[in-house]
């Protein structure tokens, strides 16, 4: 007894987590209180209205997918990415509703359907066109990656979307959907926090959100000052990482491993 605080090598992680939440909270409060924080603009986010505008001009639909995401929201690596993708889907749908563009959402995550449907419905409602929302625009492929890919490929060739937006936890479908979109000359915007698919999103898409940018994008879209404040919190953490890296590098040169043993507490 009395030793329950011992976290076996997780102590620094817990400190980091508490510090991170404190920073996010503090900067959100500061930003709300009037502190001027401006987020760097992401070209990929700025390109979304352009992509929708293109679709409106050409009279063609928009393809949207959040990727394979391991087939469920309940996945610690991909669930958050899917959620971030759905955040951006809400924004994209709203733009589509505004300019009367058809958007079709492909997914293989059955348990995300309620969330997706409500998000898209809300977007249509916000534009005052609830009657235009059609639940069948969100197409689900049963937690199976390959059928989802097959159907996506088929749909892209048949409907020839003007733009294709891929945001979320992608796996091997990224390069296939990306190249299929390229073949028909769609404008493509990608984003993922799955390191192993980033090379392909960068290679096939016109604009890409890399790792953290995917999560930050919806904060930027929202334009809420307090939400953007949390991004400053992230930056402060990055400075902290940079300091640790610099310090550790110098200590390594003089063969001192006190920092390493400190981090391993």
């Amino acid at each position: 007894m009395g030793v329950w605080i011992i976290l076996d090598t997780k102590f620094v992680a817990l400190l980091l987590l508490i510090a991170a939440f404190a920073l996010f909270y503090a900067y959100m409060a500061l930003a709300k209180g009037g502190m001027k924080i401006k987020a760097r603009t992401f070209p990929a986010v700025a390109a979304i209205p352009e992509a929708i505008g293109r679709a409106a001009e050409m009279g063609r639909p928009v393809y949207y997918s959040t990727g394979m995401g391991q087939g469920t929201l309940n996945n610690q690596l991909n669930g958050p990415q899917t959620l971030a993708g759905i955040s951006i889907l809400g924004y994209t749908t709203r733009l589509c509703a505004k300019s009367g563009v058809k958007i079709t959402y492909f997914t293989m995550i059955a348990d995300s359907l309620p969330l997706v449907e409500e998000t898209m419905r809300t977007a249509y409602m916000a534009e005052g066109k609830p009657e235009e929302f059609d639940p069948a625009v969100a197409i689900n492929f049963q937690n199976e990656q390959s059928p989802y890919l097959t159907a996506s490929l088929g749909w892209i060739q048949r409907e020839k979307p003007a733009s294709s937006i891929l945001m979320g936890g992608f796996y091997y479908e990224a390069v296939c959907i990306g190249e299929a979109g390229n073949t028909i000359g769609a404008m493509q915007i990608g984003g993922s926090a799955n390191t192993h698919q980033l090379p392909f999103l960068v290679a096939t898409c016109d604009y890409t959100l890399i790792m953290e940018e995917l999560y930050a994008a919806s904060a930027e879209i929202s334009g809420n000052l307090d939400v953007i404040g949390s991004l400053r919190g992230e930056d402060i953490l990055k400075f902290f990482v940079l300091i640790l890296l610099g310090l550790g590098f110098i200590l390594a040169l003089v063969n001192n491993n006190s920092l390493i043993s400190l981090l391993k507490v």
């Binding site: 390959s146 190249e179 073949t183 192993h196």
Partner: protein, 286 residues
Amino acid sequence: MSGQNIWDKLQNVDRRVFYWILFIALTVPFLSPIGLPITVTPSTQSYYDGLKSIQSGEVVVLSINSGVSAWGDCLPAMIASVHKVYDQGGKLIVWSIGYTDVDITWAKIKEKLPDVFSKWKEGENYVYFGYCPGQETNVALLATNIRAIYPKDVRGVSTDQIPLMKDINGANKIKFVLSSDTGDAQMYYIRQWKNGQVNYEKTGKPPTVAEMGIAMNKSGDMAYYLSGDEFGLVAGSRGAAELEALTGYKGDATITMDSISVSHVLLVLAIILTNISMFATRGKKK
């Protein structure tokens, strides 16, 4: 169109032309293998050394966490490994925490090794438990209580009745785990078995882990090998070809290597051409 010279055309080649050339280039070498020499990388060598250290009667786990779809990269290494375990007189426990189609993979391995499985007796020399969902939670349970996850094998024989499993109910009597995976399954074994609470009965050390990963994950998997969490790593069909060279069992990976060489050269040539054509047309436009 008449203004287009060869470089312009080259930059706008229909991609289907490449697809055809690629598919043919990948297929033809199977008809007449060239057999280019292969140097063995250290990670494969230590994988093989690990297999060679199996003593007669020692038990090894083969965890098939790759699906039929990844056969091209994963199957040859598994076949060569099973063959080597047999050569060493080891015993084999097989299961999967990754894919539902593992039955087909296991059937294929058996089919490819008729000389092994005509002599090996199911239940005595090897046992096959099939697929079980649950991922890492499952692996953690398997470390201490195999019977909780697999009360019986695929044939329906109770685990208690299987001679091979007589004294085995956890990681403590397993020599090591060979994990074939397309994802992170090897990490589960490293976390839950190698770094977990179990002690290997004979040496007093927990079972170690070796991996047969896909080439795509090579750099990520390499980190585990270099940090010593894995005693060996066979990376993709290339690694499998090295393993086949070491074990002397010539299988599909060795032949695939010719395909790989031809297709890689093709890709490099295509890249060189597109770059030359880009520079040629850029100069002109200026």
